[in-house]
Symmetry: C2
């Protein structure tokens, strides 16, 4: 049990999938909020979560939980989050805090800033974990142990709200919470997450793969682990962060074309230098 | 203890580094050969291995162990193996079996076929494990548990020799031993091992990496794990398998350029199809 006391707060989670379900389970494991509610279009999931004691109540109609919630956590795709907030702007409780969990931030923050009421706050969030499967049934109360979380405040974010959200995030298992602008987030994520996913999928779709390959060793497994992605979500995330991603892809394609020429010309010493550098950087990254 | 009886055989390992050391430790854990010897230029390593009971004797001068060994296992870089065999061709014991462990096969087999005596055999080998560190001090007796091994026989390979070697390889922990031609090996390895390593190093050397990056999540760690490579060995392996690698790189660069255009044109449906395909293939690969 975390020392943070949130027993006078009602919390609603919108979208009870892998991330929403894991946040709900992690909150209920570590805290005793006044109420933990979920809003989802799937009544079966809501019933299951209530039956399991993960939430106090589930709602398909959002009005009741919204007008009574101090914190609303969106665990839906970016465009669904934007539309949901637009459509329900009148219902949010005065002084409530809204946050999301989507993998791109600039567009959401821009859209929300345009329409948000003066008496509520929105802080963008990105938990960097849990991409392996979809749906509530895969959610778990220890998914975030040791993980990293990025928060992107808005123009009107109060320190008090940022501190409260940071405490809750750390309380449910995340080790590192970093604050940055939405633009910094999207630029960084294009390189550290989206480019690797695009590369993994490209390798996986190579014509060499005709069904199962034997004798493949660990390299190709490592580099393609993240090729198993949610295609609906990721195509949306990638299009939303298009400019940053195209920029990173351009750099990468340029670099690998350069290595192509080095290998073609058998510049062994140049190749050694490149490998020395990557070796050094890799060691540095994980320490 | 494996059921295979090799108590009347002398075995020599040439090059007592990570792979040579691990093979020695795995043999001594699972078998009782008549003698297990090592040949290395580093006397300290030989003394250490003898002191630890891993080998019966170590030699800097190869003649005595070569004229008395029934099996010689080369755990050296490809060009060192070729030169060593050329320079010591007169000393190998009649009817002895030679094998190597290098990551490229066509060149070695071609060169060895040119010079090998009629009364000895050479079978190419490639254990697909153990790239993470260099040197005897990192070797261990369980390195090969569950691993994959490729064998590439020569024109004069006898079934008896191939079976003996396969049995020893399985006896020291490898789960799968696959026989193929050196050309098939090199083509396959270009895609499943060398291309992933080149990609990992390219990502790692990206200008975005300025020292340690925070908030990076798991994706970039996964995709760059193999960037920490032995630059001397890998630049040699890559140049030796140049044509296959350039071919694979060309395919990959072509595919990623194609995805670049798809993202640029915001062809979301096309992107979803690509991700569905990679998802499906990834699941199929690991089952």
């Amino acid at each position: 049990m975390n020392v943070l006391n949130i027993s006078d707060l009602n919390i609603s989670i919108v979208g009870l999938g892998l991330i929403g379900g894991s946040i709900a389970k992690s909150i209920i494991k570590n805290y005793k909020p006044k109420n933990l509610w979920a809003i989802d279009i799937n009544l079966n999931t809501l019933n299951k979560a209530k039956y399991e004691g993960v939430i106090n109540e589930g709602y398909v109609e959002p009005i009741y939980p919204l007008i009574n919630s101090d914190i609303v956590i969106f665990c839906t795709y970016p465009n669904i989050t934007i539309n949901f907030i637009k459509n329900n702007m009148d219902y949010f409780k005065p002084n409530s805090l809204l946050t999301d969990t989507a993998g791109v931030k600039s567009k959401i923050i821009t859209e929300i800033n345009k329409i948000i009421r003066n008496d509520i706050e929105f802080i963008g969030g990105h938990p960097m974990s849990g991409k392996e499967s979809m749906g509530y049934e895969f959610s778990r109360d220890n998914m975030f142990e040791g993980g990293e979380y990025i928060l992107t405040p808005c123009y009107n974010t109060k320190d008090k709200s940022l501190n409260l959200l940071t405490d809750i995030i750390k309380g449910i298992g995340f080790k590192i919470v970093t604050i940055m602008t939405p633009e910094e987030h999207d630029e960084r994520i294009a390189f550290t997450s989206q480019l690797p996913h695009i590369i993994a999928c490209t390798v996986m779709n190579n014509k060499q793969f005709n069904g199962k390959i034997n004798c493949i060793g660990g390299s190709i497994k490592d580099i393609t682990r993240i090729a198993d992605i949610n295609n609906e979500l990721w195509s949306e995330l990638i299009v939303e962060n298009k400019n940053n991603i195209l920029n990173e892809m351009k750099n990468f394609i340029n670099d690998i074309n350069n290595i192509y020429d080095i290998i073609k010309n058998e510049e062994t010493e140049q190749l050694k230098l490149l490998f020395k550098k990557s070796c050094h950087r890799r060691k540095e990254m994980i320490t």
